[in-house]
Each structure stands twice: as structure tokens, then as C-alpha cells.
Symmetry: C2
């Protein structure tokens, strides 16, 4: 433990939290166009916070939400680290399940509650405060660049083009991303693999209007029945995805990895989520199924009358939002094509079926022999005072691939949150200790040469 | 054609329409509690319109929406007809599919457009104007009673108790209901059978909150996947309903009836609804499937994120509204029991599944030898100038059973609307000619002895 770093952080704690609360109060929901003004407000706020600690800053506009950039060049010969985070958040709906307003942060039992507290405002702000710490203590050993975007929760639509167009500006020896979770502060982990993503939507259109189900029931096919039938054909009873060639490119991990890499106590999951049984792909444990195997989830499904009371109709339209998580070596564009033709094949000719592919990203994985990884892991051990375990996580961070492929640098995840932060859910939270330890860890990394 | 009746109606036409528009402007949506005041407004309006033409009236309050009652006793020895209609309407959602405000009636191409124009405000008001006509012309041959309820669209929850408690008051020789459609004004039909109904809801609860699908996908069962799987098991590929014993009590109609009783041109349905293929239960035509066979429809299905953009979650809850249409001799309570246990049997133990039965009603059928039916059919022939055909309709009018069973009278349907009125759908309409012919037909029936 570095006493100077530790002292600085604990002296500044109240100021750090006060500032973070300001950021959490801005409802920067990138998916909802009603929040466009809030997106600009959040970008401006983040930019100021970088300028305040002494970085050169700039806001890049994009066809979507703006990207904030900052840099501190200490020495042309020093190595350069590029940090990445995002200031946008997931929609907060359903609001009624939140104990308090999702954009009025508060602390309860040592947790900060707010939409974005952990994903990713709390974590990206920990990076900024780590930069502040190292700069205030004059221990900074790297040139620093930082990119904070506003479209992570909608698939980082414009980030790829931005990185391509600014390759020279963003040139770095190492890229660090803080946008995930370690198992717990007492058993630290470093993520060395995330799943890829394929986001799609299905729209089934039957009759040209909602119909009286008494008059037409039996003769006119029901889009809700059709979409349910099709969804039931996406997986079999063994939880195997039925899209042709879906598993063709999946490379099995060696048994040793399967044993060492999974990270959740299954009975704890059941207790925490109040469910009596988990599921699993045949041949894999639930923990493996949720981290190292590809999956398919229905994220939303809707059609017909969903209000109070009843309405005896055959609806005109049924819709579903479907995402898949992909693993190392799967090609999302290939799978998107096979998904489209599978759905088209199983659709009856009584309705029109449209498949929309929104976006995709391949999976990420890091070699355990990477030198930067080994150095950062060593710092983590010192700060968290326990040997960190490498893990795979089931989530997707497509930007890892963007940076790796376009900039040609190693990308390393320094996740600061916890498994039970309820990101994307009501009552999202971030432990105050996690926030402070995170600042300490990042400060330590950038305060010593690698 | 009775010249006097015809003259009176065509002289009063503008007044009749003006009055009907007043009623259509009241948004009396029984299913939505925000409209409770409108329900009282509509009841009061209907009551006044009965009083204005010379009936004794009374409003009965119920635990739900009030029931309007009116009567005109001309002679203790005369036969009594009890009319029935309802002043409540279906929800108007989705509003964006209406060309104009559903509660701002207007006439276009000789059709009155408004929620309730045909179902049932337009029809029950035609009954009232027929009473006015016969009373004004002093040709009324029957004692008249009329019940107009406000809960037909929510399953007539309190009507049964009301009829039971007021058996003496409602005593009649014949009950007439105008709440349906004839095939068209040029090919008149009289409905001699309607299907029964069973209304239910399924709620599937998985984890205690919406989850990040990347973190938990693969290990935690998805309520939307589960509900889709279960819905897909409700019917087989032959459109046969899979609930055990579902068809046990169904009595097949003789072939002669099957040939004479169905009523729709299948190519016209496809053209009207813009669909390329109809469905049918194996062994029955689409027209038979939609009128004389039991069916099951998903009226609404929802869960997860359904807003703009994406949200990568496993939702906590999935819900579906399901109704069945039952035919002659099927017992809805028995089927409700079998449905519940079937759903419970096919539900996986990874989720909680709740089945809620809302209400039910058995089917109605009338003998073609009924004397009243024959007399009313003869009047229809005179007014519409063509031989009416008896038909079965797929809809459900549980009140027919209520009156038949509790009062022990014949119940006859005098449907005034048309197949293409889009009842329960956006842009509901009612032909001005249908409205006026309906008044004429009912006036003729009550102006001559049966």
C-alpha cells in the first residue's frame, strides 16, 4: 500500500463523492431521444472535470452523442496509457421498482444508489480521480489519454469511426477500460475475457388492424401466437441454440481453464435472485453457461392489449427484442445472416416477419502472459491485499475489440464494481469502498513504471 | 315496409344522429378506472333519453358500474319484451391508429366513426329510437322493459346478480338483444348461436428483478422464453388446442348445418385484412373455425424492455392475456380447471407461474323453430327486402345465457351492425343506413302482435 496515495484519497473522499453525485444527477440515457440535452450536459460536465485536474480537453461531436477527450503529456519518451469509459447510462425503467428517484443519488449501508453509479459513471469518475491523485502527488509516470463516450449503452455506434479517424491522436502503448465488476472486494478478480454481442429485433405483422377475437379467432393467425412459437424454436430443452451453424466456430476451452475460470457461487445466485433452479447448457455448469458459452436472450416482447382489464382482440403486430452473447472466435455477421434465414424459414406464410439486426461485436480475450496484465495484477494484489484471480465474464464490451483492432494495442480491464451492483436493473449501486479502492489501484498503476 | 314508420324515421334522422353523437362523445370505457366518472355520465344520459320518450326509469347502482332500467306498461294482458344493451365501450387504445379522436364522432362515406358507434351505443340507441317511433305513432303492441348495463366489455360482472335480485321486475315473454352484426344490409342474417368465453391471464415470475443479460444469461431462466414456450404448447400444428379434455363435450353440428351456417367469403376476409393465408382447425374450413369451433387467442403479451433502443436484460416478469371461445355444451369452469393444471404441468420449476381466471360464459344457441324467431325473421325480410339467413357468430354475448337461465325466456338477437364495423379496433364505425334500418326493423317488430 502506498501511504501517500492512500492518505490523499481518504482526505479527498467527501469532495470526490460530492462531485460524483453531480454527475449521477444528470439523466444521460443514450437510448432515449428525450434525453439528448442531458447527454450534452453530461459530456460538458465530464470535460470540465478533466480540465479542472489539469488535462487538455476537447469535445468531439459525432452523428450521435458527443465524445469527450482529454490528455496529459508528461514526457515524449514516457509510455502512454489510453483510458476509456462512458458517461451514458441504461434507461431507468421500470421506475416504480426504484426505492428513490434513479437520478437523485444517495448513500445507504455504504453503497451509492443511482442509475449509472457503477455502470459506468462511478468507475470512469474513479479513473479521473486517480489521475487527479497521481498528478497532485506528482507521481504520474505515463502520458495519459482518456476517451469518454456517450453511446456505450446503444452499441458504441460512432466510436469505431472516431477511433479510426483519430488513430494518431489516440496512439498508446496500452489501453485500460474500467467498466465491469470484480467478484468482490475481498476476493479480487481481473477479467480476461468478455462475450461478443448480436442485437436484433423481430416484428411479426398479421392482419392490418387489431381484430375482434370472437369474430376472427380460429381463421386469422395471431401474431402473438406466431412470435411465441418462433421464440420457442430458438432453443431446445438442453438450452442449445437452434440457429444453424451457431456453434460451428466455438473453440472449447481446455478443462483446466473451465475449472479455474468460473467465478460465481451458484447457491448464492439463487438466494440473491430468489429463484429455486438455475438452467445450464447441457454439458456445462450454470456458471460456465453464463460466462464462457454463447447465449440467446429475449430482452423484450410485446403486442396486443396490455392495460387494465381485458380486450378480446387478435393484435395486428407482435415484436421482440433479442440479443445473443457470443464467445471467442464466433463471427457475429455470419450468425446474423443465419439467424435471419432461420427465422424466415420457420415463419408461417400467414404473417409477415421482419428481422432487424441492430449491431454486433466479437468476443474479447487476453493472454495471461501479457506483461502489462501481470504488472497491473501485481498492483491489484498490493491494494486489495489478496492474489487476484483471472475470470471470464458473460457481458460484452465491444469497445475492447475496437481499441485492440484499430489501435493495435493491448487492452486491459480494470473493473472496479461488484457482481451485485444491479447494473441495468432498478436500484443500481456502487460500494463506496469499491470506489475508493478503485481510485487507489489505478493511482498506483500510473504512479510506477511498467 | 310500413310507410308511417319509415316516414317518421326519415323525418327524425338528423335529430336521431345528433342525439347519438352526444352519447358517443362520452368516453365510457368500463375497463379503465380513470373513466369512472364518464360511466356515471353515460348512465345518466341514457336514462334521460329513456325518460324523454316516455318510459319510467331508474338507475340501479352495483358494486361496479350502474345499470339503467326503463319500462312502459301499455296493458297488463299484453306480452312483454325485455330489451338489453350496454352503454360501456372497449378501450380505444392504440390511439395513434385512429384517424380522429375516438370520442369525437363524425360521418364519412355514410359511416358514423367513433368508439362504441356499433358496439353497442349505436345499436342500443337504435332500440331507444325504435321505442320512440312506435310510441309516437301509437302502434306499440307490447309492454316494454329495457336494461342497459355498463359492464358488458368487462364480462358483465354484476349483471347476473342484478337479474337474479330483480326477477319479478324483469319478467318478460321474450328478451331481445341488439349487440352484434349481420353480414351486410344487402344480405341480412340473424344470429342463432354465439360462442362462450373464458378469460384468463398468465404471469411468469423469474428473478426478483430485471437482470443484466450478459452477466446472468445462460444460467437464469428467462420468463419471456418460458411464457413463449408455454404459449407454443397451447395449440398443435393442426390448430388443435392442447388442454386435456378440451374437446370432450363439443357436440359436432350435422353436416347440413355446417354447410348452411357459415357466413363469410374467405377471399374477402383475406383482402379486407390484407393477409395472404387464413388458418383453420384441421377438418374444418376457416369460416367454420371462426364461428362454430372453439378457439384460443393470445390477446396481449408483454415483458421486459419495449421502449426505444435496446436494453440487455433478462426481465423479472412476463405476462399474457388469453381468452378462449367455447361452443355449445362446453363447460367453462371445467375447462378453466384443466387449463390451470395444464399450465402448471408444463411450467418449468425455474420460475413461478400464476394462472388467473377472470370470467367465463357458456355458448348460446337458438332453435330455428322458435316462434318469436320466425316472426322477427319475417319482419326482417319485409324491412331489408331479402330472405334472412340464420348464422352462427364467433363472438360471445354471455348476457344471453344470463337472461335465458335466470328469467327462463327465449332470447333473440336482432343484430344491426355489420361485419366490417371494426368493433374493438381503431376507427370503429356504424353505417347510417344500418342505424336507420335497425330502427325500422325493431319498430316494425314491436308494432305488430306476435
Amino acid at each position: 500500500m502506498d501511504i501517500k496515495i492512500n492518505d490523499y484519497i481518504y482526505n479527498q473522499k467527501d469532495k470526490f463523492l460530492k462531485e460524483l453525485f453531480e454527475l449521477l444527477k444528470i439523466p444521460s440515457v443514450s437510448a432515449q431521444s428525450t434525453h439528448n440535452d442531458d447527454m450534452h450536459k453530461a459530456a460538458t460536465w465530464v470535460c470540465s472535470s478533466l480540465k479542472d485536474i489539469g488535462l487538455e480537453t476537447r469535445i468531439f461531436s459525432t452523428p450521435g452523442h458527443p465524445i469527450v477527450y482529454g490528455e496529459k503529456i508528461i514526457d515524449k519518451n514516457a509510455k502512454t496509457i489510453l483510458f476509456y469509459g462512458h458517461y451514458d447510462v441504461q434507461p431507468a425503467e421500470p421506475f416504480n421498482l426504484w426505492k428513490k428517484d434513479p437520478f437523485e443519488p444517495y448513500i445507504e449501508n455504504h453503497y451509492i444508489y443511482a442509475r449509472g453509479a457503477s455502470d459506468d459513471k462511478g468507475q470512469v469518475f474513479a479513473v479521473i480521480k486517480a489521475l487527479e491523485t497521481a498528478m497532485a502527488l506528482k507521481t504520474l509516470k505515463f502520458n495519459i489519454k482518456i476517451v469518454i463516450e456517450g453511446e456505450e449503452e446503444v452499441g458504441s455506434i460512432n466510436l469505431g469511426d472516431f477511433v479510426k479517424e483519430n488513430k494518431e491522436l489516440l496512439k498508446a502503448d496500452l489501453c485500460i477500460v474500467s467498466d465491469g465488476s470484480l467478484t468482490s472486494i475481498d476476493s479480487p478478480t481481473m477479467c480476461v475475457g468478455t462475450r461478443g454481442l448480436l442485437a436484433s429485433e423481430i416484428k411479426v405483422t398479421g392482419p392490418n388492424k387489431d381484430l375482434h377475437s370472437g369474430i376472427y379467432g380460429g381463421a386469422v393467425d395471431n401474431p402473438l401466437q406466431v412470435i411465441s412459437n418462433m421464440i420457442s424454436m430458438l432453443k431446445d430443452k438442453d438450452q442449445r441454440i437452434q440457429i444453424p451453424h451457431f456453434y460451428d466456430d466455438v473453440i472449447e476451452l481446455p478443462d483446466s481453464n473451465r475449472k479455474s475460470l468460473y467465478w460465481n457461487d451458484e447457491s448464492k445466485i439463487k438466494q440473491y435472485l430468489e429463484i429455486s433452479e438455475l438452467i445450464n447448457e447441457k454439458g456445462y455448469t450454470p456458471s460456465e453457461s453464463m460466462a464462457i458459452r454463447p447465449t440467446l436472450e429475449i430482452n423484450g416482447l410485446w403486442g396486443g392489449y396490455t392495460g387494465e382489464g381485458g380486450k378480446t382482440i387478435i393484435p395486428s403486430i407482435a415484436q421482440a427484442k433479442i440479443t445473443m452473447r457470443l464467445v471467442h472466435n464466433q463471427n457475429w455477421e455470419e450468425i446474423a445472416k443465419n439467424f435471419k434465414s432461420y427465422i424466415t424459414n420457420i415463419a408461417p406464410n400467414t404473417v409477415d416477419v421482419e428481422v432487424i439486426i441492430h449491431d454486433g461485436a466479437r468476443a474479447y480475450s487476453l493472454s495471461l502472459d501479457n506483461e502489462y496484465y501481470k504488472a497491473i495484477k501485481e498492483k491489484m494484489k498490493q491494494v486489495y491485499q489478496k492474489e487476484p484471480q483471472p475470470t471470464f465474464t458473460g457481458g460484452s464490451i465491444p469497445v475492447l475489440i475496437t481499441f485492440e483492432e484499430i489501435l493495435g494495442t493491448s487492452v486491459i480491464l480494470m473493473d472496479l464494481g461488484s457482481n451485485i451492483d444491479d447494473i441495468h436493473s432498478p436500484n443500481e449501486k456502487f460500494g463506496v469502498k469499491y470506489f475508493l479502492k478503485g481510485i487507489e489501484w489505478i493511482s498506483s498503476v500510473i504512479s510506477s513504471k511498467m
